[in-house]
Symmetry: D2
Subunit: 340 residues, 4 copies
């Protein structure tokens, strides 16, 4: 699994400096292919280059440019793991041809609310119940979730319906409360909270890893690699919109990321049309694009009374609207030969 | 069709300046709603506010913020024109339930190439033939198209196959060469070439208006408004990817723009999956997302031998690959009840 | 300190729904200014609107648009705290006319390295020593810092030179190790780690809060508000470049953010020219722009041997280069009447 | 002046396809360095590679990645033209140590306005008078300038004051009206209007080329190359803010672009703080950052009565404010040893 790096030197690089650079790589146990042309001198570095910092090397004065030939992620890489990863909770499946839907309110508010929504979305065909107990909010004055009580309400809804639950962990300090949560969500703001990722790599629960607002696809895969390299192979990736200049939607759903991710990795990939757009009327069309783009599932916000939702109301749909979305999605999944 | 603007004044705005501002609006024939609360003073401006410059007003020292209540585009606005616009060339249709596909090479290269591709894409189900005779290239040293000869080759292909042709106009100085071109394309770089838009508003050909690389949805609609307000009602909008920080794809296809545009305007909207991604393996999945997102058509690059395409080769698919894409698209359009 | 929100209703909003909305606000103890014009109905909401979710309200079907008239941050707001905040460590000052420079290597590597750099930057005029003991790295395979040992080496350098130290906290679980660290840095990736911000609000150390890669100026101020509202008034803001489409520099330094922040807040604002550009030759010119834009200080990476820096080497300058930068900065600060 | 390209092949590339690719380059008169390592095969292409399309080559199935070793611009490249270019109009200079200031209103409105402003800005130290006669406006209903009459008013102001005039050409069809205009401005929206650039390459007037809203630094240099390669060596580049996610300022001034451009090219580079920020109170601090970042000049909007400016008022400063800005700029230029 040797990785390679190609370094193109600047014209007129001093020989002594070139030798220093080559020695530096050799000291690290890497092999060198040296190719000096009339105009271009290229150093190929072969071996485990994943520990090298491409930006640090780019900064060396004799270096013109550096390129990694192979991807910096290994365990997440489809090249080394051709078969789709299947994530299972009880007998519910996401990935490898199975299309899984996660639905529920942004925030857990009360027993009636969460159990009511759970029954409705389960009846409509959702496999997993989502609900936020810990809410990351940009304002310190905003409602930040019911916390421990919210988790208890989710567990009550799980008991009542049998649905596995998905909830966001905002800080490692709350992890003990998540022992009965089935799938732990890492939110967009924590995608590069590397200490959290490292810790989650040590548990055996499926992790739903959301793409950061301005994270590249490669950065998302590197964050997945953190979890995978710790030993936890159950990672579900989630595209939820990126930050761009366009303001007609809250974020810009990067739908191309779905086929790109499916080429690069074997991990299941789902789409969050609610957060991606921030507009409830866009949930249905965007959910459909996810199906045909090759996604393995969806995470959709559903709230019994969107006008009073304590947060993120604009993007929630009602249970009645969710019924219609599910009708569309089921028909489209059947058309696309996805098991739902 | 009165438009309204709401101006929120800063706290403690000097009365004399407030009166000056109100006089300024009255001189322009606008009506004023003045509402002074304990904490907030609001001026509502009613009438044709489209000539007011929202940024200039924002800049006045007593103004806190300004908001247009109604959209700045009128003729393009679905509010004032509920029915979908149907664009027709001969008996070929795009919009109002008709899904139209435009296909062909990035650049016209030779008689054999263009006629060969035309026959293949026509057989596969494309309605319109595209081909670039004038190519906008970021380098002055790059191939810029066969120009007049390219147009002649397109017309030969039209004669041979009966397919209407679509080609990009890069400068008004070439417009006379486009007299027999059926649909004139305005490229992303010319989306805000207002003199070109004004001139095209005076002709009666359908205009394919591509979204600029960093243009908002509202700016795209304002550019359409230029053409429409000149009297030409045949405008087709095209989403072709926007510029973001992500580098895995050449641009980021803003798929949400499709349902958003369909809500805001009655004009047909098509998608260009080739330029949006710059990667031929993404053409098929992205084309499918366009169908389910509610688009009225596609524009796809097809080249007989992508390895030798003189420009944009990376994103072109071969005629054989196009056959497969069309199979998928036709089935999906049937599923979605779109006429293709 | 009443905050206000202006809600512009859609035309033809059902009266019952309007009444429901007004009741909703009244239940929350807010006052209402209702202004119904011929064309536009506006609801002004007065009181502490900071708990309202602007996006949830935007989502209500009768609501056209919502605008907060006042900023959502209070304690950070210059309107309510005209005088510049001065952050002091021992007798070293940043803010309120005092220009403070923090310098040191990206990562602490050894006693010789950190003490060597400390002595050099102190001699050149830096007030604070920076050094990373915990390094956030996008790859799980990359060097992540010497951790506890790194902190100890920093403390040794502090003992040797008397310089206060600045180091990044990547996870709350390490906070006990920071008891003798003088200034705790919150990195760009943790700018919205709200649990960390809340905790840091309870300590009395100065916090250096770096702007997130794709965070708006308002979001940065809201994150500062988290710390301030917990009781810790010693917050230093840091502009370190945002993510854009431009690739010539690693990030795009948003120099306009400096005068904008200085208008909006009383907190000191510093600039990180090293991370903003990722290019050592840009450190000097960008540092100078920070001075004239009104910044209160700089944080600059200095490494004795940039070619061997274990991370971020491309952006580090040598102690010799730092001497020259300091000469320029000192002269410019004198010209601008800043105390350095 | 041979340019080079390095192509890294995918592992396991079929030999026949590799040979085809090599033949393709040889047919184009290029030389090949072929280096086959155990893991990596690299093709170096030497000669005038500027006609090759890097994206088309990237798209070939055996190609892993492609990198141009040298920049695609030649005449604009400082490597081949070490000395700074000096642009002169009459005896007024921009570049090569001379700091030149262009000032005036966004739009020419009347004789009194333009002559009044001209006298004020000249007295304050501006060398050139700017004024828009043709205004690119995103709305077809907005004021688009006085056109021919505007040019005449500018010429009248030139006659009255002796100041050379700078005005924007929005379409080649108006070029005859610009025969007595001293510097032709190409606006951000026309930065990639290649037909206009080609035509301007044939004239001998200085061209002020503004960076497009979402154009990279390399694209700006390639647009300059269009003009230079036509024979016109008098090109002034202008950074005027790029489009990002931040909304506190209209655009984001990319101040790093100044030292980057000064490294890459010998052409003079100026900054437009008015359009970059859209906020008049930011004009002064941003103008100062331009001086210390190494810019060769400024273009500043000045309007006698900003509250009534017909366009872009928010960013204009008054003649009195301009006097103060000039005092600051002159002192700072003196400090920086720039001739003003």
């Amino acid at each position: 699994m040797g990785q390679q790096m190609v370094i193109i030197l600047k014209q007129g690089a001093e020989n002594q400096k070139v030798q220093n650079l080559i020695s530096y790589f050799k000291e690290k146990g890497l092999n060198i292919n040296y190719s000096e042309g009339a105009h271009t001198t290229i150093i190929g570095v072969v071996g485990d280059t994943s520990k090298l910092d491409i930006e640090a090397i780019s900064a060396i004065d004799i270096v013109g440019s550096v390129k990694r030939v192979s991807e910096p992620y290994k365990i997440a890489n489809r090249k080394f793991h051709q078969d789709d990863t299947l994530v299972e909770v009880n007998d519910l499946k996401i990935g490898a041809g199975h299309f899984g839907i996660i639905a529920g309110p942004c925030s857990v508010e009360s027993y009636e609310q969460i159990v009511g929504v759970a029954k409705r979305v389960q009846k409509a065909g959702a496999k997993f119940l989502r609900g936020g107990a810990f809410k990351p909010r940009s304002s310190p004055y905003a409602f930040r979730g019911l916390k421990a009580e919210g988790i208890e309400l989710l567990l009550a809804a799980k008991k009542e319906t049998g649905m596995p639950i998905v909830s966001e962990l905002t800080s490692l300090s709350f992890i003990d409360l998540f022992s009965e949560v089935d799938v732990i969500q890492v939110g967009a703001r924590n995608m590069q909270n590397f200490d959290m990722l490292t810790e989650l790599g040590r548990c055996d629960k499926p992790i739903l890893l959301k793409r950061g607002l301005s994270s590249t696809i490669e950065e998302l895969l590197m964050s997945a690699e953190y979890i995978l390299s710790g030993g936890n192979k159950n990672v579900i990736l989630c595209e939820r919109g990126i930050r761009t200049f366009e303001t007609a939607t809250r974020n810009t759903l990067d739908i191309s990321a779905i086929p790109v991710l499916k080429q690069f990795t074997h991990l299941p990939v789902i789409v969050d049309p609610s957060h991606a757009s921030g507009i409830s009327s866009l949930v249905s069309p965007l959910a459909k694009t996810a199906v045909v783009a090759g996604a393995d599932g969806l995470i959709i916000e559903v709230h019994p009374n969107p006008e009073k939702a304590l947060c993120d109301g604009a993007q929630s749909i009602t249970p009645d609207q969710f019924d219609k979305v599910m009708d569309d999605i089921k028909a489209l999944c059947e058309f696309e030969n996805k098991k739902i």
